[in-house]
Symmetry: C2
Subunit: 111 residues, 2 copies
């Protein structure tokens, strides 16, 4: 069907899934990495950096913005994007909480 049965899952599970989608496409990872490097926000020179069409980049930016992990401010005819610190911390914490829940078993504890 392609349609996720969100009603079967907890809010936390759904939220984690949405946050994970920010990283679930290499183009979006590339955009995030670019933003991490050039801390000084950016605009659409991502089109140069990645080899994708302008419309495609714009679409990925919108997804990242919808997830909330980035934010954009209008600067004349350009738009400066940057990481949203609060949302970043939130997502980071959500993932860390999961990652830290697993303690490697001493030995043949498991399969």
């Amino acid at each position: 069907m392609g349609v996720t049965k969100t009603e079967l899952f907890t809010d936390v599970q759904n939220h984690i899934a949405i946050a994970a989608k920010a990283f679930a496409h290499p183009a979006r990872v590339a955009i995030i990495q670019y933003l991490l490097k050039s801390n000084v926000c950016i605009n659409g020179d991502l089109v140069q950096e990645l080899g994708l069409a302008q419309a495609t980049i714009s679409q990925h930016l919108r997804e990242l913005k919808d997830i909330g992990i980035i934010q954009g401010t209008i600067e004349g005819s350009r738009i400066s994007y940057c990481i949203n610190p609060e949302r970043w911390a939130e997502i980071k914490n959500q993932f860390n909480e999961i990652f830290n829940q697993f303690a490697s078993p001493s030995s043949g504890d498991c399969c």
Copy 2:
């Protein structure tokens, strides 16, 4: 197109995207959480736990197995799944590396 242009991106970017997909669906998050809780591996009582059809669960398990984040061993007619410690650590480190690359700007550093 629905087809990702993987050749445009670095190996790291592609690998992160693949790993993120493990968490990019609430059912898979639920499966991982269930595995974290009942440390003692499990089988397909996920079908009871989540409200999805057996075939659907099986499919998500295969995806998680393909990503490598879980592993399964045959135990008679059942299959015990558990988290793959090495792969788990690998993914955890990959994400932490990204998450730690961002230092919240002192003030109006950005947009």
